[in-house]
């Protein structure tokens, strides 16, 4: 059934996953601001309303708190809702149903209730959109016990992780990046899952481990390709899940290369990169041949001006420079 080399855009891979899951499971529905609007959610909701009707594809007033809570409540009552926040920043209004309710629910009722909800939010950085339309708040979510957090970087993973998230009995924060929406890649037509909590080696290498998620995985691969020409063999890992973290894959790679650099799309202080770094130091410190390095956003809100955006968002160049610096360390 699957056409092996079928290419699909990232945004359309999300759309296909939702179509297919709504088709096979009547408990799946989509709710949130902008599901009728390509302006908000790109191609991701294309055709859903026409196919499934407004009982299962629900565009909502601007009420993030109530709508997210409603998705959580519907999940508690046995549905499998997907609630979308077209800008991750807007999701902050919904921190009560996400953190206090959905994350704790299974635990605080001793396993007597589950919350199979997908909380989907979109990072919409760049384009001079400034501080409130651009934030990558995955670390904030990953800090909370009871939440799973996924950040697919490729069209293949987008579809597979969306399906896995819908099937999961726990609340899953599903975060994608608008910068990835036009990316094309191989996507099988059939329904498949990418396991939550499993990373992937995008490129094997022996000199240094480069760990990334989401959009930074794309920049990481670019950096590794460039460095290959310079004779530096970088192993690129896309963790895909920010929580749970694929420790085995991470540790195995660092044990092999002895060096670690992390490229994250969030801020530095107390961030995801810090967590990866701490995990490696706590568990396999003896394998490290040089200090761990982090590529992150500076601890600054996103600026509007294009001139400042240029230096705000890290690119492959920043990764390349940092890797070169790390590799020089031993000879210092």
């Amino acid at each position: 059934m699957s056409l092996k080399n079928r290419k699909l855009q990232y945004s359309l891979a999300i759309n296909e996953a939702i179509h297919q899951m709504m088709e096979i499971d009547e408990s799946v529905f989509l709710i949130g601001q902008g599901v009728k609007s390509p302006w908000y959610v790109g191609n991701t909701a294309r055709g859903l309303l026409e196919r499934f009707g407004d009982e299962r594809v629900i565009d909502t007033p601007v009420s993030e708190n109530a709508i997210t809570g409603a998705a959580v409540g519907a999940a508690i009552a046995g549905m499998r809702p997907i609630v979308v926040h077209p800008r991750m920043d807007f999701m902050m209004y919904a921190m009560d149903p996400i953190i206090n309710e959905s994350a704790n629910w299974h635990y605080m009722f001793g396993g007597n209730s589950t919350v199979p909800v997908v909380i989907w939010s979109i990072i919409n950085r760049g384009g001079e959109q400034a501080a409130q339309h651009s934030q990558s708040l995955h670390t904030l979510c990953a800090h909370i016990p009871g939440l799973k957090v996924v950040m697919p970087a490729t069209p293949y993973d987008v579809k597979g992780l969306m399906i896995a998230a819908i099937k999961d009995d726990n609340p899953v924060i599903y975060i994608d990046d608008r910068w990835l929406y036009n990316l094309e890649g191989d996507v099988p037509e059939e329904i498949y899952s990418v396991p939550i909590g499993k990373g992937i080696i995008c490129k094997k290498g022996k000199d240094i481990t480069l760990v990334s998620v989401s959009y930074m995985a794309i920049e990481a691969i670019k950096a590794a390709e460039y460095l290959k020409k310079e004779g530096i063999d970088v192993e690129v890992i896309d963790l895909r899940s920010v929580k749970p973290i694929d420790k085995e894959l991470l540790f195995e790679s660092v044990k092999k290369t002895g060096r670690l650099i992390i490229a994250d799309c969030g801020w530095k202080t107390c961030g995801f990169a810090a967590e990866i770094s701490a995990m490696v130091c706590e568990n396999i410190f003896e394998y490290l041949k040089s200090p761990i390095a982090r590529i992150t956003l500076p601890d600054t809100p996103a600026p509007a001006s294009f001139a400042l955006e240029k230096v705000y968002y890290p690119k492959s160049d920043n990764i390349i420079a940092k890797i070169q610096e790390v590799l020089k360390w031993e000879t210092k």
Binding site: F29, E55, R56, I58, T60, P61, S63, N65, A66, I67, T68, G69, A70, A71, V72, G73, A74, A75, I76, A77, G78, M79, P81, D96, P97, N100, E101, W105, H106, Y107, M108, F109, G110, G111, N112, S113, T114, P145, G146, K148, D169, N170
Partner: protein, 328 residues
């Protein structure tokens, strides 16, 4: 009134109120002794609301509660031994000792959860009602919350959405005149909670929450509206808690005093919903004193058995601390 209802129904309401009251009052001593450690927000004085509302519901209907939900849980059919065990932090509790008094659940009875975040379950109840609508089930969801919740924005967002989608949900506001320590006159200028839904096109009712039959009747009418697809409904139940916000009294800085005026408490003690209903039952010759005594004894026995069950139960195992973080 007497003619409208059969004796079993009327006695059933009385029994439920007594179960809640005696269960709540039996916690007072263990709390004061420090034996019950988790915060307990006692429902004494408000029994007519949970009892009357839940009597108007089917078992398959859903309810959600708040920090003060022992009564809701019991009235909807939750197990008393599991309630007491939960309050004692035991593995046999309804939440396996992970929740305590403020996290009660009995999913098989339609009690889908109580949590102490003020307004926290309003949107959750909204979602349960949305689920019923999508599945075309004739099922009503009741969201119980206190007057303090009218200060939370999520209430208004939820009212709007519920009205927009005509969801089968009853917003049941238990107005006991206090938001923790703060009297309602310091929380809002106007005494009109029952009109809260009106700007959203939701009819509102104000009901004497200490009159169990009035509570039942208003809820029954609301259930009909919801089941016909004409929900939501907003009801304000006027009541008063006879105990403190948390624990037997308001216990400010360990002083064990109630911050509310003594005369006010005494005035409401006279409106005790159970005593009032008892008088009604006597007057209409539905019960005689001996039968009331018998019910009391049966309930006391049930409460004693529940405490015995809780006290003899084991605590959760330390090695199972992280159990239930995720559904495996």
């Amino acid at each position: 009134m007497r003619k409208k209802y059969n004796k079993n129904f009327l006695v059933g309401l009385y029994r439920t109120m007594m179960r809640i009251r005696i269960c709540e009052e039996s916690l007072v001593e263990p709390i004061l002794r420090g034996e019950v450690k988790c915060p307990c927000h006692l429902y004494s004085g408000e029994e007519a609301i949970a009892t009357g509302v839940c009597a108007a519901l089917d078992e398959s209907d859903y309810i959600f509660g708040s920090h003060r939900s022992h009564g809701h849980y019991l009235a909807k059919g939750g197990s008393m031994p599991e309630l007491i065990a939960e309050i004692y932090g035991k593995e046999t509790g309804c939440s396996k000792g992970r929740g305590g008094s403020m996290h009660l659940i009995a999913p098989e009875k339609g009690m889908l959860g109580a949590v102490p975040i003020v307004g926290g379950t309003i949107s959750i109840a909204l979602g349960a009602a949305l689920a019923s609508k999508i599945r075309k089930q004739k099922r009503v969801t009741v969201s119980f919350f206190g007057d303090g919740t009218t200060g939370e924005g999520v209430l208004y967002e939820s009212l709007n959405f519920a009205s927009l989608k005509k969801l089968p949900i009853i917003f049941a506001c238990e107005n006991n005149l206090y938001s923790t320590h703060l009297p309602i006159r310091e929380c809002r200028l106007q005494n009109n909670i029952f009109k809260t839904g009106v700007p959203f096109g939701i009819p509102g009712d104000r009901v004497d929450g200490n009159n169990v039959l009035k509570v039942y009747e208003s809820t029954k009418a609301a259930v009909e509206i919801c089941k016909k697809g004409n929900g939501p409904v907003f009801i304000e139940f006027l009541t008063y808690r006879l105990r403190g916000h948390v624990g037997p009294d308001d216990n400010i800085h360990g002083m064990r005093t109630d911050i509310r005026p003594k005369e006010e408490i005494e005035r409401w003690q006279k409106k005790d919903p159970i005593k009032r209903y008892e008088r009604f039952l006597f007057k209409n010759k539905i019960l005689v004193k001996q039968e009331v005594e018998m019910i009391r004894k049966e309930v006391e026995q049930e409460v004693n058995n529940s405490f015995a069950f809780a006290l003899s139960s084991s605590y959760p195992k330390e090695m199972e601390l992280t159990k239930y973080v995720f559904k495996e």
